[in-house]
Structures are given as C-alpha cells and as structure tokens.
Amino acid sequence: MQNATPIFLPIIKIDNENENVKTFYIQGDIKAKPGQFVMLWLPRIDQKPFSISDCDDNQFALTIFKRGPLTEKLFNMGIGDKVGITGPFGTNFSLKPDTNYFMVAGGYGAAPLYFLSKKLQSLNSHIDFFLGARSDKHLLFLDKIKLLSNITLHVATDDGSAGEKGFVTQQLEEKLAAAENKNKVLVCTCGPELMEKKVLDLSNQYDVDSEISIERYMKCGFGVCGQCCVDPIGISMCKNGPVVNKIIANQITEFGKYHRDKSGAKIFY
C-alpha cells in the first residue's frame, strides 16, 4: 500500500532550464530515490507522471517540458502555489560504491541521471556522464552536472552546436571498448527509447551491467490498472519499473519495437 491519494504541496522555487523547460522545487519529505516518479495533479486539468530530478529531506524537484494543458498551467504557477502529488512510485537506479558509472542521457533523460549522480557523490564512484540532445539549446542540466565531483562529462549534439556532432551512444561505445575492469562498470540510461535500446545492446555486446528506465503510458502508478504492462513478461512498468536491470530489459521484447497508447492499442516505433 502506498500514498495513492493526492496531497497538496507548495512550490518553493522555480528554475528556468531553457525556453521550454523549468524545474519546480516542491516542499515535502517524500523520500524519493533516483529513477522514481510522482503523479502531479492540477485540479480540473489533468494528472500525469513526472520523473524526480532531485530530492532531499525538505523538498523534491520535477523538471518539466512544456507541451500540453497540464504543463502550460504549471508554467503559469508561482512560488507558494500548491500542486497535488501522489507517490513516489516505481523502482530506482542502484546506488553502488566503488563503481564506474556510465550514464547515458538523451534530452530530458538527464533529470533522473543528474539526481543519481548527486546521490553518488558520497559513495566513491566515478561517473562518465554522456549528455546528448538535438542542439546546444536542448542540453539539460549542463551547468548543474559541471558542479558535481568525480564526474567526466561527454557532450554530443545532433547538429554539432555543442560537444561532438553525433550521438552519445557512439561516445559510449568508444568508452566501453576502452574500459578496464568491465565488472566494475554500471551503465544507466534514460532518454528516447531507440537510444536506450542501443545502450542496452551495447551493454550486452560489451558484457557490462546496465539499468534502463523504460517509459510506458501509466494511468494509476501503483500496478493496478495494467495499462503499462510490457510484452511478453507482463510486468507493470509503474511498479516493477520504470528502472529495470539488463536481465529484465532483455526479456522485454517490445522494448524498442512498440508501446501501447491509453486505450491499450499497440503503437510501433
């Protein structure tokens, strides 16, 4: 049993990440772990899942891209305004000491991986952070990541406007090929599904451990409605995911091929 009825919590700080992305800091001790999500409800508008991009004893952060009625309304809200929160829900990325993390973030996937990096600061693990986006304007959390220690940042953009021109998966492959102590490597990824699939394939090819955040259309958030169950193993991604390890991800044959819409019909990539 989980916190499954919305409670209203105030926004205490708002950061502008770029033109269409803001980070909302919300007051409350929800004890969230990196990779988990909450449902955010604005009465009379909608309720949707959002990944948590930071969390401590007093507050948590949601980094949100403006793209519909719910987020548009949220972008017009200010400090002190309250939002309805349920959760946190789902599984999280592993926090392991003495590990060489390879984090592969595409677009908004940087949010939970930044949170993970921050939580690793006290664990003596090194992080290679592969941050990719369409262009320099779309790179998320670049400045925040630079402030962390034990972290090497690799940037790639589709158009070459920042970092290398190309894909983060190419950079990952080069580093994986060169990596020593492959049993100390943990690849974590969050981003567009086809990028994630490539990351999973690379972790199989180079025989390193990996954890993947798989997004599916979620309705309830606590494993009851069955809307986010994946083929052919039938587990729900809101409860047994969104973060799954390589062994589970390899069993999800629909991964990288199709997902389901809110009616339950298959949508192929």
């Binding site: 449902m39 309720q47 409605c225 169950c229 339950g264």
Partner: protein, 301 residues
C-alpha cells in the same frame, strides 16, 4: 484442496483476477496466473477503442480503492489478439468481458470476442462510471438484464456470466431474471458507486467526479449480495468485491460463491496477492478441518 469445478471446467484454485485489474494484455493476464490465480477475467472491451476518462482515474486509501477509469480499451478486434496471446502463454481458464451501450451492440461485441479462445464470457452491465455516456447501468433494471442476457446468450459459443451491481436494491431478483433469460452464471458484484473530495481544491478528486468503490470497504456489501443471490438462483456465482485475505475468500464461499474474483487486493497486498490468499485459505481449511470447498459452499445460511 482448492481445486474447483466451475461449469464443467477445472480450476486449480477458485481465485480469478477480476475484470478491469491488470488484464489489458495477454501477457499481463498470464502474469496473474504466474502470481497464483486459478483463472483470469480480461478487461471489458467495447466495439471500438476507448481512451477512458482523464486522470485522476484511481485513488487508494487505507480501506478502499476508488476508480473511474471509464472502460478504456483498444476495442474488441485488438482484444481478440490479446486473448489469443494469453492462451498461447497459458492453459488456464479465460473469462472474456464485454460492455456496450445498447443490447444489440452487446450481441455484436460478444460475437466478435467469441472468436478468441474463451472459456466463458462475462457481460459487464454494471459499471458505475460511464452513466454520463450510457445512462444508468443496465444492471439496475430487470427488463434490461433479461434482454441483454438473451441477446448475448444467442450469439455466444461459451457459457455466459452476468456481472451485477451492488447498487441494485433487488440484486437477488435481478440475478433471477438473468438466470431465467439464460445466464449460465452470475458475477457479483461490480464496484459500488462512491466518491472522494479533495479538501484543498474543494472538488471531487476523480475527473469523472464519481467512481466505483472496491477493496476491503466493499467486501461486506459484496458478501451480502452473494448470500442473497445464492438463495434465489441455481446457477454458480463468481463472488467478487473486496476479497483481500484467505479469510475473506472462505467467507465468500460460505455465502455461496464458486469462483472468487480478486482485483484491488493487488493494491493492498502486491501483485502476488493471489498466492497469498490461496495459502491463507489452505491454512484456515487445515485448522478448521475443511477438506474441500464443496463441503462449505453456501453453508452459512
């Protein structure tokens, strides 16, 4: 110990996942079998795809669960494929489920869903969450229940069970009407109509305003309905509504149920709740010297 015969078919145990919970895909239904169900009920499907109501559609509290999903489903044609997939993955008994806005449409959806390898077909005439669209549930009116039961029975190639509403004050008479019209079984009950209000925003939490209450709060209501129906009909009953523990399950059998639908209990006790319930049933049966479920079915009169 728990083996159950329901309309001439064998179930390894009487627990079936109730319609609307998990149940969207063949793979997820198979997951319920892996987690200990004796059989499964698929999510209700309609002639054409539906997105359902906007969120919030579900909330959970200590003693109840409240939902107004609004019967989202990919439509009966896609559902047939999912149920074929279920039977490829599992040999456990499968109950399909349908709903529609008119009696003729019920028959139309039934005919298509019967192309899937069903063992039974459940007719959902009692969802409390779509009244704005379809009017009050058919399960409130004896004449509507008769017409729909007859129409579906005429086209179905498998036994049919009619799912009734605890909001019908005369649910036992409604069950009799369904039996007289040709129903092979009764599923009792659907969720009971209810709501929750958010004190901060001063509005109902569910976007549909009202929803269906399930979970432990529904259990005593469902138990009484099954008890009343058992006295009035000869056909078997799928007792559903708030069953969360092995003790609940045995109470429901003592009220007269043959199969037991379990749904929201997943929220309260996890996705392996089916296994937990059957284990608890066996423990109680041993302690109480109950050898099989036939021995106690309907005993509490």
């Amino acid at each position: 110990m728990l083996q159950t015969i329901f309309l001439n078919k064998k179930f390894s145990n009487p627990i079936v996942v109730a319609s609307g919970v998990i149940g969207v895909t063949g793979a997820s239904l198979n997951r319920a079998i892996i987690n200990g169900c004796g059989g499964v009920t698929a999510k209700s499907v309609s002639l054409t795809p539906r997105f359902g109501h906007p969120n919030p559609t579900m909330i959970g509290q200590k003693h109840f669960f409240l939902n107004a999903v609004g019967l989202s489903n990919p439509g009966v044609d896609e559902a047939v494929k999912e149920l074929i997939e279920f039977k490829r993955l599992s040999s456990a008994p499968l109950i399909g489920s349908i709903f529609a806005g008119t009696p003729n449409e019920f028959a139309e959806v039934a005919e298509i869903l019967c192309q899937a390898p069903l063992d039974y077909l459940e007719i959902d005439i009692s969802c409390p969450n779509v009244s704005k669209e379809f009017g009050e549930p058919f399960a409130y009116t004896t004449s509507a229940v008769e017409i729909i039961t007859k129409k579906v029975k005429a086209v179905s190639n498998v036994p049919i069970s009619v799912k009734l509403s605890p909001n019908a004050w005369n649910i036992d008479q409604i069950a009799q009407a369904a039996e007289a019209a040709g129903a092979d079984a009764i599923t009792a009950v659907n969720t009971v109509s209810g709501m929750a209000i958010d004190v901060h925003s001063r509005i109902p939490i569910l976007s549909n305003k009202q929803g269906g209450v399930s979970g432990p709060a529904l259990f005593p209501i469902a138990l009484k309905c099954v008890y009343d129906i058992y006295k009035k009909v000869k056909i078997p009953i799928i007792g559903t509504g708030g069953i969360t523990t092995g003790k609940d399950a045995l109470e429901m059998i003592m009220a007269g149920a043959t199969l037991l639908g379990v749904g929201s209990a997943i929220y309260f006790r996890g996705e392996d709740v089916f296994m937990k319930i059957t284990q608890e049933m066996e423990e109680i049966m041993k302690a109480e010297n109950i050898k099989n479920l036939d021995e106690i079915r309907g005993c509490a009169q």
